[in-house]
Point group: C2
Chain length 410, copies 2
Amino acid sequence: MRPLTVQKYGGTSVGSVERIAAVAERVAARAAKERMIVVVSAMAGETDRLLKLARALSPEPDPRECDVVAASGEQVTAALLSIALAERGVPAQSFLGHQVRISTDSAHGKARIQSIDGERISRALDEGRVAVVAGFQGVDERGSITTLGRGGSDTSAVAVAAAVKADSCEILTDVDGVYTTDPRVCPQARKLERISHDEMLELASLGSKVLQIRSVEFAKRYGVRVHVRSSFNDSEGTWVVPEESTMEDVLVTGIAHDKDQAKITIKGVPDRPGLAARIFGPIAAANIIVDVILQNTGEDGTTDVTFTVPRGELAAALRIVDEIRRDTGAKEVLSDSTIAKVSIVGLGMRSHAGVAASIFEALAREGINIQMISTSEIKVSVVIDEKYVELAVRALHAALVERGEGAHPS
Amino acid sequence: MRPLTVQKYGGTSVGSVERIAAVAERVAARAAKERMIVVVSAMAGETDRLLKLARALSPEPDPRECDVVAASGEQVTAALLSIALAERGVPAQSFLGHQVRISTDSAHGKARIQSIDGERISRALDEGRVAVVAGFQGVDERGSITTLGRGGSDTSAVAVAAAVKADSCEILTDVDGVYTTDPRVCPQARKLERISHDEMLELASLGSKVLQIRSVEFAKRYGVRVHVRSSFNDSEGTWVVPEESTMEDVLVTGIAHDKDQAKITIKGVPDRPGLAARIFGPIAAANIIVDVILQNTGEDGTTDVTFTVPRGELAAALRIVDEIRRDTGAKEVLSDSTIAKVSIVGLGMRSHAGVAASIFEALAREGINIQMISTSEIKVSVVIDEKYVELAVRALHAALVERGEGAHPS
């Protein structure tokens, strides 16, 4: 049987009728040899325009109804692309979330896909049609329209690919793949041919520019091979794939950085059981995402707790922390919003010692002080002064990616 | 139980967020005392904008996909109105065609409603919500989105009213009711308080400005009382209702005119069985709607056939008729595109003789020659020279409507 391919085109790629026609040309060429499912986003700017109408009517518009408004954007694109394909002699049929059917929970605006029925799409494919699926949307058990959150069309594509057991899932976007690091910071950055799902998840801040992180979780769970590539040319992009045995040979796959960080330190907190819950409970309740956490126990029965939050949440977090300080009798609260986080990711770390040491050495050579360190199985993150972040990325890239290429660790 | 009302707002009434907010105010006031279902059209201009995108991609866009594109317009309005109602403390829930569910045949772009399941709407009403229904759309048995044709939201409203057994169905529009004739032609025209479904159907050209004719068929079949009124004030409009016994007391209810007519005469056709089918078969096949037909059998075994078609179709019709002339050996074909049709409608005609005579007298007094006459049980239509149409309408209105007011026929 001919191979079965899922392609996903983002809002920029379908941002005008001219671009939709260009996508149709591209899909038509592939449809001659492959069975094709195409997942589309709303035309660029359309979702914002629609939600602006909703907010003009209510400062906090009803989430269920916002989803009905927003989902219309992908609905229009799916039908328009089907029309453009038919015009080129390629039979096509649009599918909305409830028609597929893509079942989600009822968390409007950020719903999670629970299951996909691939039956109707498969039937359309068997009839020789291209199936054009409206991304970003699903339907809950009550039959209400739901949406999957920004970038949700990526997840739609991966989930559909899993449901119909597609041979591959292509995410067509305005970049040509996943890079070892941000090329704007480090000119030596190079496009990765392959990266494992786990590495992609850890490189969230690199990856989220090209792929919604939830779609990678989905791809990992169902073993979907995702091909991130440019919608403007036919070059190979980056394959995000299940882990392969040779992948551990590469120590460091990518380096991500994140300047959107601020640091809070609570000094001299009386160290009692339940202290962490006392601090991080109220912060979580305020929907503030805490990233790196560090706790040092001192000798006088007190402890220092340091953690990072998104920079825009610093003020809100400080208000909560100040209350905690009063309640616990902590000595003082310090904060710093001029920090950045650099994350070094690679499957090879799992089996090879010495990667962390190489990281610290590379930073020390440049005189960069490490303020915090956090490690996971395949990632080392360091928090440093914001002004050194580009220097750190370049130094780490040179020491661990460029040098590591081809050369296997001892 | 509180009365159950269906209201339908057209595209102009929901043409901007400000107007949607005004509709929400109006609905909210009613919802305090009544159970409300609101059917909405797309924001004015939106359907045209969407279909223009479709036509930019294909001169004859796939009808199924056009419906997916077009239906998004009502989808957005329904959700926006629900948001505006919630903002005013009135719980509301939007319903799309497939959610209601409004089942139709598969004639995309002009689908006919086959059945409506009022269950989900009733449940929302029982929960104290306003149900906001996207007009114009339904779903066929395959689950594809269908649309009901221009003005289809009127039919949606009447059909929903029938399904839930609403106490009344209000069509809110930019005119304040149905008039005895076109007020631009005849200043004496007055708003009707009541009109029967049958009369409304016969006054299509008067009525279609305020009410899609198919919605009247629906209202007649299910006995729905339709209240056509202004969306800009609270004045009573015109009730379109099942026939009441006193209605026959009024000889003439309304006078419609239609200038979009042209006349074709085929002279000297050899008169054989099946002639009418031979002529009107090919014309119907070309989707040209023939209105008045007149046939006079001569004495030499030939006959003259005269009929009217929409003016824009005259050229196409003449091409077909010319072929028929050659095939049948008819003598000649004449045509005239400067004619108009005036229709005089009233339930009273059914039981009272002499109405036709009064019509002919009124026209004769003004020296207006009648070219064709066609009658039904409650309507007399005359075809006259276009230049006399305003004069004819005023003369007939004076003779049959103004004089008839209050005065019962002998």
